[in-house]
Amino acid sequence: MSNQPLTTLASRTVVLPAENIDTDQIIPARFLTVTSKDGLGKHAFNDWRYAEDGSETEHLLNQDAAKASQILVGGHNFGCGSSREHAPWALTDYGFRVVISSEIADIFRSNAVKNGLLPIVIEKGAHNWLLDHPGADVTVDLKKREVRLPGNGGTYRFDVDDFSAHCLMEGVDELGYLDGQAGAIETFEKAQAK
């Protein structure tokens, strides 16, 4: 139930440069009738990856190099749209541990952290570099809050709040933390009832 800890990882990137990649693209709604989280990776970006007859298209995500990647670089405003947690489930099941963009939608970002998927919002310059260098070997260091680009690409800091970083690095989930506040919650409920 806890996630795999994430501290530092190095991987080639997969770049999907389109802006406003919405959660209907990441996992179309017709795959949401499941009652478990497992096995959604094969439907990640389903309508980009498969033709109407179900055969694989030439899409980047069907290539072995992409399947081995852990870092997804998306265009601006990645993950907009619905609250479906199936989107990060599909991405992590596919193999991604990090999503980088110049902007990431709020609910997607919140859902990602809870599933061991690190959402990184990075400054425009670094984002443009990443978009221009698909397949680059990039290192993400969560402890130092750094993305290190190869060659002369440079090193860029990113923000992630301490709590999310702690959860990601330790692989813990938030329910245990919330459950630990049962006393405070009870006090609140009593006060509210008055």
Partner: protein
């Protein structure tokens, strides 16, 4: 210090204040659940041997995977067994935990954001969540209401709380008055077109100005519903007499109603309160809108030319929609029309569509379905004879549900078909692979069904 409405409600629900090391623990007054985003949360509860902390603050319904057609015996025609299992799973999970559930046998079953307000469960000053991004709808009552993911559904089921950092606040000020023929849907599409699909990211919106004060609750819900399409998790409107009158006498309304109203009257933004951002829009300039691209920010007046853009994503969107910069959405050929959803599936929306269809016929080349937002909407519409008008015009009158808004129950368009839809998202493939969605008001949707091409009501010859 003067406070915004958002700050007042937020502050009243903080169990543990946020700090650098952790987010705030926020208490949730009302948790709405449905079949799609809850099963994995109940699984987590079972794995940890946890109970639902406050079943009395939880309400369940079935809406997303439910078919809008039934067989001869009145049994729902599911798209597949997985959908049927998902609905059965919600019903058994909710029953096991003692949660009030509006399933097939309830005359209140409906799209979760239509049902909550109808029951009077949605009230001013509340914090409301649901595993659905359009939970922002409930902000129309002066509540902080936002969508959450399934992990958070589990958190709220188990603890009635969420971990959250407080968003910034943005005022959307509408000045002046709307011109005739402009609907709440046009207002929110114009707002999203102005601030962009990411413009509200990180913010809670408050819609302010006489236009919203004069709007019905249905209209306010349409506006708040689409806050998320600007990237804002929630959007709210201060409650007033319209709100109080709407809720009076509803099944879940407070027993001592006058006392509740007296408290609710304090739920306004204080004079002099500072928003992190203010956006001002001239209401008089808003016209009936339609989207022309593949996100809700790509919206313009129906008669306006589609703007030129050097942005690659925009160009791709126009290609997908099979339209070109310099054209208008007016007169684009329509294949299907969908009236319904948590955005525009309320009684007022049914009336709006029926009033346009009355004495007219849906074009032979168009297939139109009208899907009431709830059993209540369906019953009231039928009591008013709206179903008869809609059917006489050649449209289909279906069972309540999310239907073609999310197109996961089997209601969908074929590849390449152009759908004028009163729903909230025009993403590529949202209404079926390859389907092209044009978002618009119920009035515009019905007019377009009659004309066979995209048009406002004003563009219809009588």
């Amino acid at each position: 210090m003067p406070k915004t409405l958002f700050d007042k409600i937020w502050n009243a629900h903080v169990v543990t204040p946020e700090a650098a090391a952790h987010p705030a623990t926020l208490y949730i007054d009302l948790h709405l659940i449905h079949e799609v985003t809850s099963p994995q949360a109940f699984t987590v509860l079972r794995e940890r041997d946890l109970k639902v902390r406050r079943p009395d603050r939880t309400l369940a319904t079935i809406d997303h995977s439910t078919p809008t057609l039934k067989d001869e015996d009145g049994a729902p025609l599911y798209v597949n067994d997985q959908a049927k299992t998902q609905v059965a799973t919600l019903l058994s999970n909710a029953a096991e935990q003692g949660i009030e559930t509006h399933g097939w046998d309830s005359d209140h079953r409906g799209v979760v954001h239509v049902m909550g307000p109808e029951l009077g469960a949605t009230q001013p000053g509340m914090t409301i969540v649901c595993g659905d991004s359009h939970t922002s709808t409930h902000g129309a009552f002066g509540a902080i209401a936002f969508g959450i993911g399934t992990t958070q559904v589990g958190h709220v089921l188990a603890t009635q709380c969420l971990l959250m950092r407080k968003p910034k606040t943005m005022a959307i000020e509408l000045t002046g008055e709307l011109v005739d023929g402009v609907t709440p849907k046009d207002v929110i599409l114009a707002i999203i077109a102005k601030i962009g699909v990411g413009g509200g990211t990180g913010y809670a919106l408050e819609y302010r100005g006489a236009v919203f004060e004069q709007m019905s609750m249905a209209g306010r819900m349409t506006v708040c519903n689409m806050s998320i399409e600007a990237g804002a998790r929630c959007g709210l409107i201060a409650p007033d007499e319209t709100t109080f009158e709407y809720l009076r006498g509803r099944p879940h309304a407070p027993e001592d109603y006058d006392a509740a109203v007296a408290e609710w009257r304090n739920l306004t933004t204080d004079a002099g309160a500072i928003f992190d951002k203010v956006v001002t829009i001239d209401a008089a300039k808003i016209r009936p809108m339609a989207t022309y691209g593949t996100h809700p920010g790509m919206a313009a007046p129906i008669d306006a030319v589609i703007p030129n853009s050097d942005n690659e994503a925009d160009a791709k969107a126009l290609d997908y929609m099979q339209v070109k910069a310099g054209q208008t959405m007016a007169n684009q050929t329509v294949d299907r029309v969908f009236v319904g959803s948590c955005t525009n599936g309320r009684l007022e929306d049914m009336r709006a569509a029926a009033s346009v269809l009355s004495g007219r016929q849906v074009a032979k080349t168009v297939r139109m379905i009208v899907v009431p937002g709830s059993e209540q909407v369906k019953a009231q519409a039928e009591a008013e004879g709206l179903d008869a008008i809609i059917i006489a015009a050649g449209a289909e009158w279906r069972e309540p549900g999310c239907s073609m808004c999310i197109a996961m129950n089997g209601d969908k368009a074929a590849p390449g078909e152009l759908v004028v839809s009163t729903s909230n998202r025009n993403f590529a493939g949202r209404q079926g692979p390859g389907a092209r969605t044009v978002l618009a008001s119920p009035e515009t949707a019905a007019a377009s069904a009659v004309a066979g091409v995209v048009t406002s009501v004003a563009g219809l010859s009588t």
